[in-house]
Symmetry: C2
Subunit: 133 residues, 2 copies
DNA sequence: CATAATGATACTATAATTGTATCATTTGTC
DNA sequence: GACAAATGATACAATTATAGTATCATTATG
């Protein structure tokens, strides 16, 4: 039961570091070094964050990335959505044959409830929050 | 974000069906047929349920499985624990370098909280509940 | 004693995740 | 202007987890 994949994990770490260097352009090279993460993989991740307007990128010799939003406006759920798709926990997996609840499977209801809860809770976690001591 | 794997899924379906045939010994063959599931795979699953005392097995010609407990005492979390291990959502994935919260990462706290919630909710879902209309 | 079931376990296939490599493009510096 | 160092885009490879198969031994029923 893995809530957060490695993509998301690395992305959040990188975002925290970039946030700490307020305004400075940070290259993948430096990030990978500081975080001890595989550089090409991290690069791919940052490119995706750029596409999704979480980061802004600069090409050329002293290029790199900065945040495209305030740290308080970047939420864990945003990142999860990018790398893990819509966070739907599971389909109602019981077929009618076994499960008599045609439209109102209690398990389905539970799962929807859990899903809401998880999103609500993780929706309060921003990069800013993670940086505050 | 997958809460329930196929093992667990199949196991629950099979348990529901076995529960419906109160007391009757049901063979993998019949279950696989009724549920339209791959027979050898289902067999492996039932064997594991037997080992964990959820099912009781009978060898020989008209052998098969019956429930080893009342349906009301078999919970989804029991099954999940068997096939998906301890349902710990994630380690605190932020390293000290980035995350200044040495012992009190807010994300970690959240995740523990979510974990508790999920277990509490799924802990109320029993086979009996799934069969009640 | 043959048949049909489970026990145990090794093996294979598939899919998802994780990570690499490469070529093109951009930009600052000498 | 040429070079170096960065990102953009994208195809490819490796690893791991999940899903499923095969097989031989054992047991019980008829």
């Amino acid at each position: 039961m893995k809530l957060i994949t490695r993509d998301t994990d690395y992305a959040v770490r990188a975002l925290c570091l970039i946030a700490q260097r307020k305004g400075c352009i940070v290259s993948v090279k430096k990030l990978a070094l500081a975080l001890q993460l595989p550089r090409p993989f991290l690069r791919k991740i940052l490119q995706q964050l750029n596409k999704k307007k979480i980061l802004e990128s600069f090409k050329g010799q002293s290029g790199g990335f900065i945040l495209a939003k305030e740290p308080a406006k970047i939420f864990l759920t945003d990142i999860m959505r990018i790398f893990q798709g819509k966070p739907s926990l599971n389909e109602c997996f019981l077929k009618k044959i076994v499960c008599p609840h045609t439209g109102s499977c209690p398990l389905r209801k539970k799962i929807v409830k859990i899903e809401d809860y998880v999103l609500r809770e993780l929706g309060t976690v921003s990069i800013a929050l993670l940086l505050r001591s």
